[in-house]
């Protein structure tokens, strides 16, 4: 480390109390920084409040817990409802009381005690090879032996999948879920792994016919100017919105919480109010191709082309409650092995 950067570091540490009084806030996020950046830039432009971001893929909750009362974290952001619930279980959050936030986000997309709010929704969908003669599918169908050797999916332990499996568990019970997972495993074209985009890529590569993946990647692939290869992946697939038999399409959320010991609480609340506002929700919908939680914002044309989304009525709390059991079932059937 150079002398000057060490000096800067020292200055930062020593001046922390002074720095804290300036108009800024500290955001801890497990969301990919590039997805959040446009929103944060818009926030800073509007309010003049600078946002210091710490991106932590794993261990966000553990770090905040270990920092305890000295934690500089103001806002905690994560994807997956289970991660949000984890913050609450570890006692890292405080209730959000802002009327503006609570008015913007429907109660089904909040913690019962308002310890977190959803900022966006994503559906767990099926990508199918464009030429495949298939217009509709249910989640239950995925275990049908007719798909043997034709399905791609990422790790069964990934929160996007455990969320879906937890919902299945809540719908059908443990025994049926175990049989269903074994059925999917038997249908896999390759070991579970990679990301959701790999599903589309592998469909184009001839490895599989259908893949389970999140909805917003389709827009991200089809409009990707930085990596034009991805346009071909996105173009090779069509999107089916699967439903549970007697239910709807499984959605998960990205969310935010107010840190329990937030040193810049007022600024933090402003950020939450901004993120749930019509303007920010529009960015979520247009730039990230997610479903907005604020009914005032519309979905992007790419997402609209998937057809109407019938959200599964199962409450998110049920998904949270079944998450660990679902993860254990994934291990029981050796889904990832």
């Amino acid at each position: 480390m150079t002398l000057s950067s060490r000096a800067t570091l020292l200055a930062t540490v020593l001046c922390l109390p002074a720095a804290l009084s300036a108009a800024e806030l500290n955001l801890y996020t497990s969301r990919e920084p590039k997805l959040v950046e446009p929103l944060l830039e818009a926030f800073t432009a509007e309010t003049g409040i600078a946002v210091n971001t710490v991106f932590l893929k794993d261990g966000l909750a553990e770090r905040v817990a270990a920092e305890g009362g000295s934690s500089p974290a103001d806002v905690l952001m994560a994807v997956d409802v289970g991660n949000m619930a984890d913050f609450v279980e570890k006692g890292l959050t405080q209730a959000i009381t802002s009327e503006a936030v609570l008015a913007a986000v429907p109660s089904t997309l909040r913690d019962p005690q308002n310890q977190w709010v959803a900022l966006s929704m994503r559906a767990r969908v099926v990508y199918a090879a464009k030429e495949l003669d298939l217009d509709a599918i249910t989640y239950e169908d995925l275990a049908d032996p007719k798909w043997a050797g034709k399905i791609c999916i990422r790790s069964g332990q990934h929160p996007y999948n455990t969320g879906l499996f937890a919902a299945y568990l809540a719908h059908h019970g443990a025994e049926a879920t175990e049989a269903w997972l074994s059925g999917i495993k038997a249908n896999l074209a390759r070991t579970p792994g990679g990301g959701d985009r790999d599903g589309a890529k592998d469909i184009l590569g001839g490895i599989c016919d259908i893949a389970v993946a999140n909805s917003y990647y389709v827009g991200l692939m089809r409009t990707n100017e930085k990596d034009p290869e991805q346009k071909a992946w996105g173009a090779a697939i069509k999107v089916l919105l699967p439903t549970f038999e007697n239910g709807g399409t499984h959605v998960n959320i990205s969310g935010a919480a107010l840190a329990k010991h937030a040193p810049n609480k007022a600024e933090a609340v402003k950020l939450l109010e901004f993120l749930t506002s019509d303007a920010a929700q529009k960015i979520y919908a247009e730039a990230n191709f997610e479903y907005p939680v604020n009914a005032g914002a519309e979905v992007s044309p790419v997402v609209a082309s998937f057809g109407p989304l019938a959200i599964d009525p199962l409450p998110l709390t049920e998904v949270v409650a079944n998450r660990k059991a679902a993860s254990a079932l994934v291990e029981r059937v050796g889904f990832d092995n």
Partner: protein
């Protein structure tokens, strides 16, 4: 360093001759301690305690009780993970030992066109982290990648649905790719052993009529056994720690299981429990290494280093040797580098290198330098204590100090985070009481916690390296130095440090490169706002896109090449027979 010690040099050479004679006689008991410098042992104890603290924090975590039942963990997580890990380690071990030893022998005992270049080029895969090689080959060998595209063009297929190769995402894929970047861990020490130790014995063997096969099997191989053991155990611990490659290639190792148990199930105690099981596996590895190195002590090291007289391979055989030797370099380094270059050049041509990337480069190098200095100092204390006071206590301390290398970065980070964050809070509250203002999280905020984690993680490399460096210095040198009036510290300065330089440089480079590559602990412990190249790459990989990631990956690889070149130059100087 060596100046003014000429008389000592001569004295020790005479002593060394007698030591050589003694080493030919059977010897049961180890030599008595020289005495003095007891504080080195305390120092060693302190270093071991520093390493042990996170382990104890983990044990404490593990005892908090797991939400997941132990029976379930065992049956559905641990047992399959143990099975997969065992297969992975056996496979990687076989590859690195065969490849590393064969290549070292090829380069040390033969002369052929391009040997001088190959000599150091074989170290280059060291610069490619496992998560980068896995990612690169996933791209290269994907049905949409260049290799299969070319194959389809040659074979006349249009659509990958009509023809494609088996998926690289498999256990054998993981074994091959890890072996490709980890074999230098064996090649490096074995080649050094051949270069520095083997000449006299091998030439004696040759004069006594050994065939080349016999020479290799009956002299070179047994001679290289300790070096193979050290290198292979380092490579295997590296494989055990890997998370990126296993994750990309769909292999569920113990490390991956710790991740999923902790991250997905939020079951920190369960993860800590698996981590402790992993420590047992590592203990087994260490025991295996010690067993493979048993009863080996080196004599005659004070003689002038003399390179082995190589056998000249001419004509087709020479070119074949070059091709064979170059293959691991091409696969483990050339192909990934070429691919990253072509990806990165496109990006740079479009957008240039951002100031952010430069800042990340500086942060990466700074952290790696700080960690390397701390790791070498710690390793020296531990190894020198063992030299001064050979026996159970210092050996145990050495083993304890080496524990961290076997723990995956995430686990070390977790173990470090809990006690350090507690300390940070105490400092903060203490400052608030005494000074009236808080300090914030000094240790985490300054990067000290991260450097601590690096030290815990990588101390084994310097302890092991310096240890085997010491093993090559005849004890007669210590006796000579001491009888000529040097205390322990002075003998370290005058005698050991100069002779240890190759070992120190080797250890420093390994630590430096590995710190640069280190990902999981860095992700967890880096200070607010600090990004390293590895975390940059990972945050891009988290999205499943490698838009700017190729540049970061290329920078990691490029920076990793520099120490490899330095290492090669030092090796060449020694090989030329000049005194360190």
């Amino acid at each position: 360093m060596w100046n003014g010690s000429a008389s000592i040099t001569e004295a020790v050479q005479i002593m060394a001759a007698t030591d050589l004679m003694q080493s030919l006689l059977p010897r049961r008991t180890s030599r008595p301690a020289l005495g003095g410098g007891r504080h080195w042992v305390w120092g060693s104890g302190f270093v071991a305690a520093l390493v042990l603290a996170p382990v104890l924090a983990l044990i404490w975590q593990a005892l908090q009780g797991s939400d997941g039942l132990w029976a379930h963990l065992w049956a559905y997580v641990l047992r399959p993970a143990l099975g997969q890990t065992t297969v992975l380690l056996l496979g990687v071990g076989l590859i690195v030992i065969v490849l590393g030893t064969a290549l070292a022998w090829l380069v040390a005992a033969h002369d052929f066109p391009g040997r001088k270049v190959l000599d150091w080029a074989l170290l280059l895969p060291l610069a490619v982290p496992s998560y980068i090689i896995a990612f690169v080959y996933l791209e290269l060998l994907h049905p949409l990648g260049p290799v299969q595209e070319l194959l389809r063009a040659i074979l006349g297929y249009d659509n990958p649905r009509d023809f494609r190769l088996p998926d690289i995402r498999s256990m054998s894929g993981a074994i091959l790719l890890l072996g490709l970047v980890l074999y230098p861990y064996v090649y490096l020490p074995v080649r050094a052993m051949f270069a520095m130790q083997a000449a006299g014995l091998l030439e004696a063997g040759r004069m006594l009529g050994c065939t080349r096969t016999h020479l290799f099997a009956r002299l070179a191989l047994p001679l290289a056994r300790p070096a193979i053991a050290v290198g292979a155990s380092l490579a295997l611990m590296e494989a055990l720690n890997d998370i990126g490659a296993s994750e990309f290639l769909g292999v569920r190792t113990l490390t991956v299981s710790i991740y999923t148990t902790w991250v997905t199930r939020s079951d920190l105690p369960g993860a800590a429990q698996i981590a402790l099981v992993m420590l047992v596996v590592v203990a087994a590895l260490v025991a295996l290494e010690r067993f493979a190195r048993r009863k080996q002590r080196f004599a005659g090291g004070a003689q002038r280093i003399r390179p082995l007289l190589p056998e000249r391979l001419t004509g087709l055989r020479g070119w074949a040797a070059l091709a064979l030797g170059a293959l691991p370099v091409v696969l483990g380094f050339g192909a990934p580098l070429f691919w990253l270059l072509s990806e990165a050049v496109g990006r740079i041509g479009e957008a240039g290198i951002s100031p952010q990337l430069w800042a990340e480069m500086r942060a990466t190098l700074g952290l790696a330098a700080a960690a390397t200095a701390a790791v070498l100092a710690g390793g020296m204390v531990v190894a020198f204590a063992a030299r001064l006071w050979p026996g159970g206590t210092t050996a145990t301390l050495g083993r304890l100090a080496s524990l961290g290398y076997a723990m995956p970065g995430t686990v070390v980070a977790l173990g470090v985070l809990v006690p350090v964050a507690g300390l940070d809070r105490m400092i903060d509250q203490g400052a608030q009481m005494l000074l009236g203002f808080g300090t914030g999280l000094v240790l985490i905020g300054s990067g000290a916690a991260l450097v601590y984690a690096y030290v815990v993680r990588f101390l084994a490399m310097s302890v092991g390296g310096i240890d085997s460096g010491f093993a090559q210095i005849p004890r007669a040198l210590d006796h000579a130095a001491r009888s000529l009036g040097d205390g322990p510290g002075a003998s370290l300065r005058h005698v050991h440090l100069p002779l240890l330089r190759p070992a120190l440089v080797a250890a420093a480079l390994l630590v430096f490169v590995d710190t640069m590559k280190e990902l999981p602990a860095t992700l967890l412990l880096r200070p607010l706002g600090v990004e390293t190249l590895a975390t940059h790459l990972y945050s891009e990989a988290a999205r499943g896109t490698y838009e700017d990631g190729a540049i970061a990956a290329l920078a990691i690889v490029a920076a990793g090449i520099l120490p490899v070149i330095a290492l090669a130059r030092i090796g060449r100087r020694n090989g030329a027979g000049r005194r360190p």
